[in-house]
């Protein structure tokens, strides 16, 4: 029906076509901003504490069919020991092409640990944080993002690595 106009997949186009085929009349309005805030790195990376934020949910989460927001709220887990599994079934990763059994492929705690050992970064924050994927941008902006910021400050994180699946 459509041809690819880019070498990378346009998920905005693809999901619009898919949901139109499902009979949804109004396409999802993806977030768009003209202005983008930018915080310069304030000190050498070798002295920074790095935190990780994921869209995965805690192991054992159960999603209701049709519900995107399996985890209802921001959550946190220890980086040591790193989780062996996280719940990702409710997220729109490519279930034909790959899998999420290797947590390190989306929550790179071992990689960061090796950069601490080599002196590239100062440390890894003691917790990673999870943010729910939500149809509601309002809830992401008004509830989830401020809570992530609060927890990162509590952990004295200097920078954040954000990894959406």
């Amino acid at each position: 029906m459509t041809t690819a106009h880019r070498t990378f997949v346009s998920y905005i186009d693809r999901t619009r076509e898919f949901y139109a085929a499902l009979g949804y009349e109004r396409p999802y309005q993806w977030a768009h901003h003209e202005e983008v805030p930018f915080a310069p790195l304030a000190k050498p990376l070798a002295t920074c504490r790095v935190a990780v934020v994921t869209t995965a949910s805690p192991p054992g989460t159960h999603a209701r069919p049709g519900s995107l927001r399996a985890g209802k709220a921001v959550w946190s887990g220890p980086v040591d020991p790193a989780p062996e599994r996280l719940f990702t079934d409710h997220l729109s990763w490519d279930k034909e092409a790959t899998h999420t059994e290797d947590v390190e492929s989306f929550l790179p705690l071992a990689a960061l640990g090796s950069f601490v050992a080599s002196g590239r970064i100062g440390s890894v924050a003691p917790r990673f944080h999870g943010v729910p994927t939500d149809y509601s941008q309002r809830r992401n902006v008004e509830e989830d993002a401020p809570e992530i910021l609060r927890r990162l400050r509590e952990d004295a994180a200097d920078v954040a690595l954000l990894v959406p699946l």
Binding site: A4, R6, F8, V9, Y11, I12, R14, E17, Y19, A21, L22, G23, Y24, W30, A31, H32, H33, E34, P37, F38, A39, L41, A42, L45, V53, T55, R64, G66, S92, W93, D94, E96, A97, T98, H99, E101, E104, S105, F106, P108, A110, A111, L112, S114, F115, R120, I121, V131, T133, Q137, A145, L149, L152, V159, A160, L161, L162, V163, P164, L165
Partner: protein
């Protein structure tokens, strides 16, 4: 997640997003973005490929140090595989299946309406 990145930046906390949905992240607009041109699910590298995962995270750390302006996108040099057919398959509407998709959509809307009646959130 991009919305979270924006708030952290606005509060003075530098961020870097590692992701595979390039258009969604760039449309939202973030400070620093390392783009992995991979199927959604493994932005930090092919499962169990520790060397690749470390390299990708290293590129993200580089970006924290080198970016001087917002909307800085760097593409990871890694390819998923020689076979790029996954790009065509993801959520592709097969013309032969349109009837089935519409029925699935109707079932889904009915389920969502029932959830709403019960006072839950869909």
């Amino acid at each position: 997640m991009s919305l979270v990145a924006r708030q952290l930046e606005a509060a003075g906390l530098p961020t870097v997003v590692i992701g595979s949905a390039r258009d969604i992240v760039e449309e939202c607009g973030v400070a620093r973005f390392l783009f992995s041109d991979f199927p959604l699910g493994n932005p930090c590298g092919v499962p169990y490929d520790r060397a690749m995962q470390r390299a990708i995270v290293g590129h993200a750390l580089d970006l924290l140090e080198t970016a001087t302006l917002p909307r800085t996108t760097v593409q990871s040099p890694f390819r998923w595989s020689d076979d790029a057919s996954w790009k065509e398959r993801y959520a592709r509407v097969d013309p032969a299946r349109t009837e089935g998709l519409r029925e699935a959509g109707e079932a889904r809307r009915a389920a969502q309406a029932r959830t709403k009646e019960k006072g839950g959130s869909a």
